[in-house]
């Protein structure tokens, strides 16, 4: 049904896909696996006509094809269920299901009655009990996912791609989904199934293809591969190589910062966490588990509805980012462009941004000193740039991230929180960032690393805290840490 030949796709500063070739047959469920950043999402978007490949050909249904856009691909029977929802929150469920294929009457007007009836029937066929007239924004995340899946069945679909469809659903909903996918397979639909959950892949799929760093590593039928072999193919390198060993790992010090029963509206529901001096704590969980919100609340960037932050045994009142910085707490946000770096300013300005007082009294600002400090940081973090006056926007993702970490490392004497510190960063820069984290821990700083990459959590953490749906579901000590244990806690069904 689908045949990719030598697909390459690059973005400024990143090579997302290199010479990827892949076949998916009609009536096959084909798993696509790989670490975050391996190129799965980019490949999905090439197949769906969102991106044009730089090189290579797409053959679909026996013909060489160049999609004019996602609408074109959709008309030819390619449907994608993206990891981030493609839903219109203020339209109704029924309207969302049929948008693009609106039910119309003889006059060409929208047939509201038929839209509603057809949606109801479709949802019922899927065993989903959702009011078709409800607004999508009023649905739970799981229900929104079911609407996404229902949308796919409206069309005469030949190739269905699902990107992490089970990230936000569980139990019975997963069973319903699998049942439906198997039926589509029998009808001759080709299915590409992307998931981090290997057990799902073994339960559902016929073949599995592995992507790593934008390269197609292997394709195997599911019977001829074991779970461990699959992980080895995905990671494809010695874990010890990527994650530097912390040389001077001492026993962690006392608890320096603790969050107690933090609630943030809608996202965090009574989470507590303790962070010790000189210890690297991993915070794991699925996307949407409330990890970033907990971090932002601890930094005072979003309000806590209840709960408190305790620093050196004393409760902090009037928490704000300014206060957090004064207390020696730093936060490297997940979104380095939006919330972290001033993209148009140079390295020096970005490094000094959170310690401006250091460089001047009153209206004077010591540019020479700022430059000297920036030069030191560039050297000590091995930031690749022409000098302190290089604009951050022209630098690679990895080096941008190092600038951000350098800035916060200057002020974070108690705790540095890093939210997805290596997302979109190449392997070399990753190792460098891990090294910086070790240095900080060696200086006695508590380090909290939020990460969705299991190997990173397992490779770097000395203790792991796992969240799901806004609550902490468990904690793993150094000896208990394994990918399986983390996944188990991250997907554990909540009581009640």
């Amino acid at each position: 049904m689908l045949s990719l030949q030598g697909i390459s796709k690059g973005f400024p500063g990143v090579k997302a896909l290199t010479d990827v070739s892949l076949d998916v047959a009609a009536g096959e469920i084909h798993a696509l696996v790989g670490e975050n950043g391996a190129g799965k999402s980019t490949l999905t978007r090439v197949i769906a006509g969102v991106f044009q490949p730089d090189a290579g050909t797409v053959r679909f249904d026996g013909r060489e094809t160049v999609w004019k856009g996602p609408g074109d691909a959709k008309r030819h029977g390619v449907h994608v269920i993206y990891q981030e929802f493609v839903l219109f929150p203020h339209l109704s469920v029924a309207e969302n299901i049929f948008v693009g294929h609106e039910r119309r009457n003889r006059l060409g007007l929208i047939d509201h009655g038929r839209t509603r009836r057809d949606a109801k029937e479709l949802l019922a066929r899927f065993g989903i009990d959702i009011d078709p007239e409800a607004l999508v924004r009023d649905l739970s995340v799981a229900d929104q996912q079911m609407v996404e899946i229902a949308k796919a069945l409206v069309h005469d679909v030949k190739l269905l791609i699902l990107d992490e469809p089970t990230a936000v659903i569980s139990g019975r909903e997963v069973d319903v989904l699998f049942d439906r996918l198997r039926r589509l397979k029998q009808q001759g639909v080709a299915i590409v199934y992307i998931s981090h959950r290997l057990e799902e892949i073994f339960a559902l799929c016929d073949r599995v293809s592995v992507l790593k760093d934008g390269n197609h590593v292997a394709t195997r039928t599911i019977d001829e591969v074991t779970r461990d072999q699959l992980i080895a193919l995905m990671v494809g390198r010695n874990l010890a190589e990527l994650f530097p060993v912390r040389r001077s790992a001492k026993a962690p010090g006392p608890v320096v910062v603790a969050a107690r029963n933090v609630e943030v509206s809608g996202r965090v529901r009574g989470a507590s966490i303790e962070l010790r001096a000189g210890e690297i704590t991993g915070l794991a969980g699925m996307v949407g588990a409330g990890r970033s919100e907990l971090a932002l609340a601890m930094f005072g960037a979003i309000p806590m509805r209840s709960g408190s932050l305790v620093v050196d045994g004393r409760e902090v009142s009037g928490l704000s980012p300014r206060r957090a910085i004064d207390l020696g707490i730093g936060l490297v946000t997940e979104d380095r462009k939006g919330q972290g770096l001033a993209m148009l300013l140079d390295v020096a300005a970005n490094v000094s941004a959170s310690t401006l007082n250091e460089f001047g009294r009153g209206w004077r600002f010591d540019r020479a000193r700022e430059k000297r400090v920036a030069e030191q940081e560039i050297a000590s973090y091995r930031i690749a740039c022409r000098g302190p006056s290089t604009p951050v926007s022209v630098m690679s993702g990895g080096n941008q991230q190092k600038v951000l970490v350098a800035r916060w490392a200057r002020t974070s004497t108690r705790l540095l929180i890093l939210d997805e510190p290596t997302r979109g960063v190449d392997v070399g820069a990753k190792t460098e960032i891990y090294r910086i984290m070790h240095e900080l821990a060696d200086r006695g700083v508590a380090v909290l690393m939020i990460s969705s990459e299991l190997p990173e959590i397992v490779g770097m953490s000395e203790r792991v805290v796992v969240m799901r749906e806004g609550v902490v579901t468990g904690e793993l000590s150094k000896s208990e840490i394994s990918e399986e244990a983390v996944v188990e806690l991250a997907t554990r069904r909540l009581a009640g």
Partner: protein, 322 residues
């Protein structure tokens, strides 16, 4: 997995409960006005309020569409000014020129609007900046065309603004009302109408769904230009002549009823019926201020306050930093 929603009647669903607020404000203002003067709550005065709503209604109808897509059209004031001058300037008192000129002006308005849309789509520059720029260009052209009133129109031309149906019901305001109902039907019952909401709600998702977002945007700005042109024709009918600053206050004025009527500046939510009620609210407010013998300059002050108040009331609470 039972989903419970508060079941509002269909015409109120989808955040349209804001309409209730506007209706309440209309009643409140009516009671206030009635307590100020005996002549306020008369049929004659209410017909007067209705009549005077026409110009604002026409321009804010187009503005509602641009705001529903998450954009805005800041060029409408200048477009009204230029086209009002062209209307009276080209008709130049000649009865035979009325129909061709009016038709030409309406087409030109739509073309200027379409040019806005094409620029927004092609450059990716925010509509705020694009239409601010176009507005300046159009205003410049208007001033090059003439520094004061230009041309004239036949006496009969005032029928659009001052003509009435039996019972003293304004023709212009009724045309506007009919257009609102038509556009409301269009938004709710056609594919393009529903897609206007979708692209305003989440443009990224609209692209991934393969909706023709660019084409719709061009159409929406063309509609905004068309309604600005219609407003220009109406104002010429009202004042008998076009001037370079006829439309000056209409840019801000066109936004007020839209936001008062519950259409979100972020796009995707609201509708023209809210705007229509917003228009009547503004019209009633100005009328009340007249009865209070307050200078018309204060009407501008009040309008500024109303727009800030309305946006701050409807604005959604920010979630997190996002």
């Amino acid at each position: 997995m039972q989903t419970r929603t508060l079941r509002l009647p269909r015409f109120l669903a989808g955040g349209r409960a804001a309409l209730l607020v506007v209706v309440a404000l209309l009643i409140l203002l009516f009671v206030l006005g009635a307590s100020v003067s005996d002549r306020f709550a008369t049929t004659g005065n209410m017909l007067n309020v209705y009549e005077q709503s026409a110009g604002l209604a026409l321009v804010s109808l187009g503005q509602t569409l641009t705001i529903l897509t998450g954009g805005i059209d800041l060029s409408v004031g200048s477009v009204i000014s230029l086209l009002s001058m062209l209307t009276s300037g080209l008709i130049a008192g000649d009865e035979a020129m009325v129909i061709p000129v009016v038709a030409g002006v309406l087409v030109l308005g739509a073309l200027i609007g379409a040019a806005n849309g094409v620029t927004i789509v092609a450059t990716g520059v925010h509509p705020l900046i694009v239409t601010l720029g176009t507005g300046a260009i159009v205003q410049g052209v208007a001033l090059l065309y003439g520094l004061g009133p230009v041309g004239s129109v036949p006496i009969s031309f005032d029928a659009f603004a001052y003509g009435t149906f039996p019972g003293g019901i304004s023709i212009g305001a009724t045309v506007a009302l009919a257009l609102f109902l038509l556009v409301s039907f269009f938004l709710n019952n056609t594919r393009t109408g529903r897609r206007i909401y979708a692209i305003g709600d989440d443009p990224h998702a609209a692209d991934l769904m393969g909706l023709p977002r660019r084409r719709i945007l061009v159409g929406v700005y063309a509609a905004s230009g068309f309604f600005a042109a219609l407003t220009a024709v109406y104002l010429v009918s009202r004042f008998n002549v076009g001037q370079p600053y006829t439309g000056a206050n209409y840019t801000l004025a066109s936004i007020t009823p839209v936001v008062v009527g519950g259409t979100m500046l972020a796009g995707g939510r609201g509708g023209v019926i809210g705007t229509l009620l917003g228009v009547y609210l503004v019209s009633l407010l100005n009328n009340t201020l007249n009865f209070l013998d307050i200078s018309s300059h204060y009407q501008l002050v009040v309008q500024g306050l109303v727009i800030i108040l309305a946006v701050s009331v409807y604005v959604e609470k920010q979630r997190g930093l996002a």
